[in-house]
């Protein structure tokens, strides 16, 4: 089923849309969740939550790329699960809570500056991506956005693991230089 048909079914509130998403994208979403959570059960739970989020958010949202929308939902939810898991290990999230409370003491100016720097950094990352070849963009996003292992990248890009590792190393150095030239303190 085409993504446009799936989105149409979601707008019609037809649960066949979810079954179609499961059939078409379950492996993809689960791979992303698994990359981050490194646990099959957590990945399964994460992906199930993503189906519910898709149902709840489309409509009103009408994403241009359903697959990318699913990827982003999955990644962000997996990161949340991971953060919760870390927090639990640190003592039921108590330290996180204290940090959150202390954050209120930080002047607004700082967070505004921080937010601006964040936006500038995002813009710089997009500019950096523009400078890369198609293959290097794929490797960079594959590793640092999709969080795939070097071995998986190598297998899926028809490269040796060593070749992928060397390329990623060069890309990291290139990014460091790129950000330094734009005044980021790295």
């Amino acid at each position: 089923m085409d993504d446009s048909e799936i989105i149409k079914l979601l707008f019609e509130r037809n649960e066949r849309a979810i079954l179609a998403i499961i059939k078409k994208y379950e492996g993809f979403c689960k791979a992303i969740a698994r990359n981050i959570l490194k646990n099959e059960e957590d990945a399964e739970e994460c992906v199930n939550d993503v189906y519910l989020k898709v149902w709840e958010t489309i409509p009103p949202k009408e994403p241009p790329y359903l697959s990318t929308y699913l990827a982003k939902l999955t990644k962000n939810h997996a990161l949340n699960i991971l953060e919760r898991s870390y927090a639990a290990k640190r003592g039921g999230g108590a330290v996180e809570l204290i940090l959150d409370e202390l954050e209120e003491c930080i002047p607004d100016k700082y967070s505004v500056e921080r937010e601006l720097e964040g936006k500038e950094l995002e813009s710089a990352i997009n500019d950096f991506m523009k400078t890369l070849s198609e293959k290097n963009r794929l490797l960079f996003a594959g590793r640092y956005w999709y969080c795939f292992d070097v071995s998986e990248l190598a297998a899926n890009c028809n490269m040796s693991e060593n070749n992928v590792s060397v390329t990623l190393n060069r890309l990291r150095k290139k990014l460091r230089t790129f950000l330094s030239e734009r005044g980021f303190n790295v």
């Binding site: 149902w55 964040g118 950094l121 899926n156």
Partner: protein, 265 residues
């Protein structure tokens, strides 16, 4: 700037880069399917002569898949003895007689690529333990007291010696009567203006290979969901269920799970 700032910035990169990079994910490759039909059968029997090991399956009987013309068959185990179910695969020019239990020791099949294959079969020989004889069954034939044979497959892959081996066989049976699975649990049924959310118990959703929730349209009656995933007792390697129907009865808040198809390995 911290590493988390950098991670967040990468996380928020332009969607087009995220979309383009989806090629880094590749679906696990399904085995190539060879359908042995009357028209296409001949080219597959040309070059490679491979010895294969076969795993016959036992439910009410031991199954021996063959191609309809008798060009390929599997060595039959001793009558009714499940422990001798592993044996050789054969190709015989003279075909396979229904009265012969042993059909040979080799298979000749043109599998010249470094891939896995599925061979979809036309019919099977099955050992009927009640009548103590092998019978040819074609798809649609009644089997035992409450089933139909509806399909069969064999899966081939290369072993360490470069020989093709059958590593799995499936025969599909369809029951006349739906098989019901009992003692299943619904975690919760929440009814609202926008529909009904049904949360399945984790163990059940895992068993069915389904998500933990389903949402229905408002005022909808009982509905059915389908999964083609295997469930059942995988440990015993004997029978799994597929094509499962899940029906929710709103009057009683009960869920009924039935399967009209059973696959024997």
């Amino acid at each position: 700037m911290t590493k988390k700032d950098l991670f967040n910035a990468i996380n928020n990169m332009d969607e087009k880069y995220i979309h383009d990079a989806q090629d880094v994910y590749k679906e696990p490759q399904a085995p190539e399917v060879i359908r042995i039909s009357k028209e296409k059968r001949q080219p597959y029997w040309k070059t490679i002569f491979a010895t294969a090991a076969c795993t016959a399956a036992a439910m009410f009987a031991v199954f021996v898949p063959i191609v309809r013309s008798g060009a390929i068959g599997f060595l039959a185990p001793a009558a009714g003895n499940e422990s001798t179910a592993s044996s050789g695969v054969v190709l015989g020019d003279s075909g396979v007689s229904e009265s012969n239990n042993v059909v040979g020791s080799e298979i000749k099949i043109d599998l010249d690529k470094e891939k896995n294959y599925e061979v979809v079969l036309d019919s099977v020989f099955a050992y009927d333990s009640e009548e103590n004889t092998f019978k040819r069954y074609e798809w649609g034939d009644a089997f035992a007291s409450d089933q139909l044979l509806v399909g069969g497959k064999s899966y081939f892959k290369k072993n360490e010696n470069g020989e093709w081996q059958i590593y799995c066989q499936e025969l599909a049976l369809r029951r006349f009567k739906p098989l019901e699975l009992e003692n299943v649990t619904i975690m919760q049924i929440k009814e609202g203006k926008e529909g009904t959310v049904i949360l399945l118990h984790e163990s059940l959703s895992e068993k069915l290979g389904l998500p933990n929730f389903f949402k229905t349209s408002p005022n909808e009656g009982a509905f059915e969901l389908y999964t083609d995933k295997f469930i059942g007792d995988k440990e015993s390697k004997t029978i799994s269920f597929s094509s499962t129907n899940i029906t929710v009865d709103y009057d009683t808040n009960k869920i009924k799970i039935s399967s009209d198809r059973v696959t024997a390995f």
